[in-house]
Amino acid sequence: MAISLEDPKKFRPLVSQAHQVAMNMLRPISRKYDRAEHEYPKELDMLAAMIDGLSESGANEGAGAAGVRRGEDGAKKDDGGVKNGANLASVMSIAEMCWGDVGLLLSMPRQGLGNSAIASVANDEQAERFAGVWAGMAITEPGTGSDSANITTTAVLDGDEYVLNGEKIYVTAGDRADHIVVWATLDRSLGRAAIKSFVVPKGTPGMRVDRLEHKLGIKASDTATIIFENCRVPKENLLGSPEIDTKQGFAGAMATFDNTRPLVAAMAVGCARAALDLTRSLLADAGVTVDHDRPAHLQHAAAAKLLQMEADWEAAHLLMLQAAWMADNRRPNSLEASMAKAKAGRVGSDITLSCVELCGSVGYSEAELLEKWARDSKILDIFEGTQQIQQLIVARRVLGLSSAELK
């Protein structure tokens, strides 16, 4: 095979389809649900039905978070043993949908981050049983953010059921999803190795949505606080192995992140491109265009800034594709997933904020979507591991240091 970093040819139809959906379905309702926080975007049910239909027909390979799975899927190789598969398809279609609207993408039925967690760690029986659910992801607690090994929500085996107790906050799609993947500890004294994830169907007695957050951005997406009080789930709903393997430690639960971080990078890449595309066109109307051959210093300052943003964007985009490509080819990608999210997260903020600045009051006003994208992008440098957590992971991997050495 040979080095090529073009978007995979086979996913061109998928991407252009996602682009049409983003343009014609999400953009027209983007501002509406930014203003009407907590109102259910009913338009999405229609869209979800369409995506399900496409999946059934086989025309749609892995659009959305649920498509990410490292199973033994027969691994159809494209050429010379190199695979462009579901992970690449997912990041590309998610980026495209987030070019439409990040908040709405996060509200897409059956495409939650919990779905990705199920796909990552579920066994075959669970994968089948939870096929088609819409799963939110509940990790963060009032006293526990980035230090997710420290969670206090407990799961105690009682007969054939686990009994869950604790409070989870910032659960994306926590109100609308029909299932929640909850992180809880089997034994606090055994540390991170005892942390397991559980699938809890909505309506299970003892689980309730306490309240919804009012946020800076992604207002179309509901962010819930969920309380578990003696909430009983069948023991088969524990994802992966119930064994507490202190040697493997946190790795099992954390493996989810290797799959979800490239997806969040994709969200930032998509959101940033929305801002970049509009700003480029607004600047062109104002007579400023970028010449890729001329030195930046000899061009309009706005063109020079645009050039720098474009370079940073391409960097995030390619790191995202790299992480997904490695997952498609079954290579460990923790380092690359964190690199992609770190770069995409900070670039997403810089680009969306700079675009507002470049476009002046046009950028700042609600008359355009630029100010909204500058608000939406911020969460992407926070959830699924903050910028600082990504740097910590990259540093530990590059330097070969343990979490005890590099705290």
Binding site: M1, I3, L5, D293, H297, L307, L318, M339, V394, E405
Partner: protein, 454 residues
């Protein structure tokens, strides 16, 4: 202009033109003149050790260019040269080099580790390439990388990707020596890409032979806000020949080069010209810079240099010239990636060994995060560079991709050099460690035009 202004200090010694002297300033300036005079030495007023050593300063040498061999004219004038096909387009996202490319990278990596790196500090100091490096590079076949097989080279298809990987691997050893050893091959590659049958058969056999001529691409000019696409060096048609006038700066191997590819404006359009070093009117003087010193950078002066009509390399509509600029920027991106990797590979063990406050400094986030960011941005630079290179090799439009890669590599490459020195603290500032050299070298990436291409 008043007398006072004439005596003004501005415009020299790094002073802005509006600097002015007050009476104390004039007194100090006068004292300095005394301090510089030989008289005080004859009177024994100064320790002789104060003699500063400028081994290769601007005034170090100024000579005519190397006499050079006479290239035997061959081939058919006006007949298009041999062209290798583009690399196939697969449409599959893939970061795996071909087997051939991997083999090349392995060989060049060994060369970089065992020959180039050990020679780097001294080569930087003396601004020359040691023979050991030169012959090793020749043995590996660097000059032939972009030369078509049928002309004695090793290229079966467009070699931009292979060239990029090789430049990266070589620069991991040393950027200056990489430029020096890649410069002749860059001219050979240019001949392979754009040369006529006559040009290829006249010049390329020498590059495939035992005694490879030094050669270089001269595109840079010593002006601020320089735009490489608008060179102020001019070419004027006179009968069957062109007359070139102008100054080219930071030209590698200028003192010894036997063949230059010079960029000049012909009727307002930038065009490449093949200029043999023995041509009358060429002078070369040392032009060492902040870094990349092993490349023996020079300033090339062209005064009424007359070359035959068939000295034009490629098209006269600016397309060849623009492609040359892009391929050259691509090479500099690859050099930045290689040098950035050298920094990362050096600081990684350093921060784990160096202790402060009772533990390795790597255990502190402020240090560890700098290393993390070096790793992240370096990989981003690499991916952008590879994307542009792969497009160039496949014969696709790659101007945008090179522009972006250069933008990122110039900014982040410099940041990596800066952070590399910072992480080492005082150790980073002294020549006992190579990081200060990489700092100087990495500044070249946003500045250099020409010199090398892939």
């Amino acid at each position: 202009m008043s007398l006072i202004q004439k005596l003004g200090p501005g415009g020299r010694h790094g002073l802005a033109t509006q600097e002015s002297r007050d009476p104390i300033g004039y007194a100090v300036a006068a004292l300095n003149r005394v301090a510089q005079s030989d008289l005080i030495d004859r009177l024994g007023l100064r320790r002789t050790a104060e003699q500063t050593v400028f081994t290769v300063t601007r005034t170090g040498f100024r000579t005519a260019t190397a006499a050079g061999r006479s290239f035997q004219r061959a081939g058919q004038r006006g007949k298009p040269g041999v062209r290798v096909p583009s690399a196939p387009r697969t449409g599959v996202f893939d970061l795996t080099p071909t087997e051939d490319e991997q083999m090349l990278v392995d060989v060049v990596t060994e060369l970089a580790e065992e020959v180039v790196r050990p020679a780097a500090a001294e080569a930087d100091e003396c601004c020359t390439v040691p023979d050991s490096v030169r012959s090793a590079a020749q043995e590996v076949g660097l000059p032939l990388l972009g030369v078509p097989e049928s002309l004695g080279g090793i290229s079966e298809e467009r070699s931009a990707m292979a060239g990029t990987l090789v430049a990266e691997a070589l620069a991991k050893g040393d950027m200056g020596l990489a430029v020096a050893t890649l410069a002749p091959g860059s001219v050979a590659t240019a001949l392979g890409l754009w040369g006529t049958d006559e040009q290829q058969r006249t010049y390329l056999p020498a590059f495939a032979g035992e005694d490879v001529p030094a050669a270089a691409l001269a595109l840079n000019e010593p002006t601020v806000l320089f735009d490489v696409l608008v060179p102020s060096t001019t070419a004027v048609r006179r009968g069957d020949s062109y007359v070139l006038n102008g100054t080219k700066s930071l030209v590698p191997l200028g003192a010894e080069a036997e063949l230059f590819v010079v960029g000049a404006s012909l009727d307002g359009t930038p065009v490449l010209f093949l200029v043999e070093s023995s041509t009358a009117g060429l002078t070369v003087e040392g032009d060492p810079g902040m870094g990349v010193r092993a490349a023996g950078l020079t300033r090339l002066e062209l005064t009424d240099v007359t070359v035959p009509a068939e000295a034009v390399l490629g098209a006269t509509d600016g397309t060849t010239y623009t492609e040359c600029v892009r391929l050259s920027r691509l090479a500099w991106c690859a050099l930045a990636v290689g040098t950035g990797q050298a920094v990362l590979d050096y600081v990684t063990p350093y921060v784990k060994e160096r202790e402060a406050f009772g533990e390795p400094i790597a255990h502190r986030q402020s240090v560890a995060f700098m290393v993390a960011n070096i790793a992240i941005e370096l990989q981003a630079m690499r991916l952008l560079t590879y994307k542009a290179a792969a497009r160039a090799a496949a014969g696709k439009e790659f101007g945008r991709e090179v522009g972006l890669a250069r933008n990122l590599c110039a900014a982040k490459g410099m940041q990596i050099g800066l952070d590399g020195v910072q992480v080492l603290g005082g150790h980073g500032f002294v020549k006992e460690h190579p990081v200060e050299r990489w700092y100087r070298d990495l500044r070249a990436v946003g500045v250099m035009e020409g010199s090398v291409l892939v």
